[in-house]
Amino acid sequence: MKEFYIGIDSGSTMCKAVLFDGKNLVDTYIIKTGWNPKISASECLDHLLEKNTISRDNVNITATGYGRETIDFADNIFTEITCHAYGGIYLKPEIQGIIDIGGQDSKVIQIQNQRVADFLMNDKCAAGTGRFLSMACEILDIKLEDIDGFTDIIDPISISSMCTVFAESEIIGLLSMEKDRSKIMGGVLQSIAQRIRAMTGKINYDLEAPILMSGGLSKSKALIEMISKITGLKVETHDNALFAGAIGACICAYNKNN
């Protein structure tokens, strides 16, 4: 029986990997996915093995995320929905759901009795995804990691276009009217939160129980605050929320074997 588990969450922008010993999270690693999800995934694997001096034969590898099917050296494959849910439960056992905003999709999961009960996914349009936010950051000339200090979430300027392409021209229009950039950014976060509400509204969430925000954007306090405000739900995060998918991949494999 293999002693260690490695979960690789190959997302559209970042490849996240974790090492798990069946009980504890031992190590994490994140790199850009790049053009070839298989290469970045094996890079993550090599790094974790080397750094923790573990032999390849002693790990059970599970792939998830958008690039999961290409990772042919994985022992198991699970979808990112299941993995985010189990990873989320591991990080915060009391959660009733997950909100995950990824690079090219966003999803909302309902958890009941420690299992996925329902989920909704937006992968048809870029609105409400990380791509929408990157686009806005680029036009407004703000670094993604700086949005928290920069954004005015109290008095945002609403962006009415749902479509990224139109929203882009709307933002350019606002800039030409010399509107405050921090308020425009507030509007961008508001618009993302509204797309999330369109999904959370379809699920019977409890207003009191916490929901974990996972994925890359879980680092942004401003976005989490905006989502809580718009959805009326108790949205929280965790230091390792970025790795929820990869952790969940290990848990799924662990559960399968035990």
């Binding site: 958008y66 979808t79 990112e80 929905i81 299941t82 009960a117 989920f119 996914m121 992968d123 048809k124």
Partner: protein, 384 residues
Amino acid sequence: MAKNALPSAFENFADARKEGFLTVKNLKDEGKKVVGTFCAYTPVEIFLAAGAVSVGICSFSDETIPEAEKVLPSNLCPLIKSSYGFAITEKCPYMYFADLIVGETTCDGKKKMYELLGDIKNVHVMQLPQTQTDEASIEMWYKEVLALKEKVEKEFDVTITEDDIKAAITIKNEERMLLQEFYNLSKSCPPPITGTEQLKVLYGSQFKFDYESKNKELRDVIDKVKKDYEDGVENVSKSAKRILITGCPLAGVTEKVVTAIEDSGGVVVAFENCIGVKTADRLVDENEEPYKAIADRYLQIGCSVMTPDTNRYDLLSRLVEEFKVDGVVEMTLQACHTYAIETAQIRKLMQDRDVPFISVETDYSTADVAQLKTRLAAFIEMLV
């Protein structure tokens, strides 16, 4: 799930649409009249009674959509665009051979497309009511059925006798009973056949024009499947999650939904779609006045074009029980408003019954195959 080779019994149906092309051409050469239909509400008994051949001409491929979009808006249901596209490009032999096309005032998109189609083909549109229980609607639909009979008699220069229509009712009912017997086989756990196999027969049976030999072939398929099952041939794994599909018409390119389910540890046991239970579930009452019986039977088909669509809810609730379904997958086509809106009611219906439910929207492209796979695989993982 390991893909099994189709039992030889399915071969007869697998290529029925293509093989039917030649048959229809020959029938045409013999002087037979051909009627193209678009919808489950079309009372085909009338064409049978008139000695004509009727064939479904809804299109399920994106091949002609770019042509269609020269006339139609791009933000329209792909089924409508593609069907119209096949008509204007003369690429669908059935459409090409059709002497008459019969449509109904169902959804807005189809209704308006028929007007345009009328410029190039001989189109008759039946006015379908939007409710199913009030006297006025029932009366109106009965009159529409009678008007169709007159139209067909005039167009094809025939007289439909009482015996003709009764015989048509009987043979069509026979087909429905056989189809029911066939899809009901999947009530067994595990089902004897996959959803892909089931769909081949349901879809293929539309393109067989000699009812007597078609009904015999259906009988053969049923017997063969039953025998294999009794002999212990295990075609589907016991652990496969039992899925019911509902929603917009599903065939051709949208079979990608079935594939995604069956490649992820699920098996489709029932199709509550137009190619499926919806069209075979009810029989025409053979003891009533024929045209009244036909009108009453067709009007009660559940479809989101009806308001309220109680018959769909009832049928779904029944099928979920009877087929011991683990989860329901709804497929809606992009820009199909009636189904997309009704999703909220179907989701609620399933939540109330504690049946896991997912709705996926798709179109006639294959661009979303990976996305569909993720959603449907996640849905099936959820059912464990």
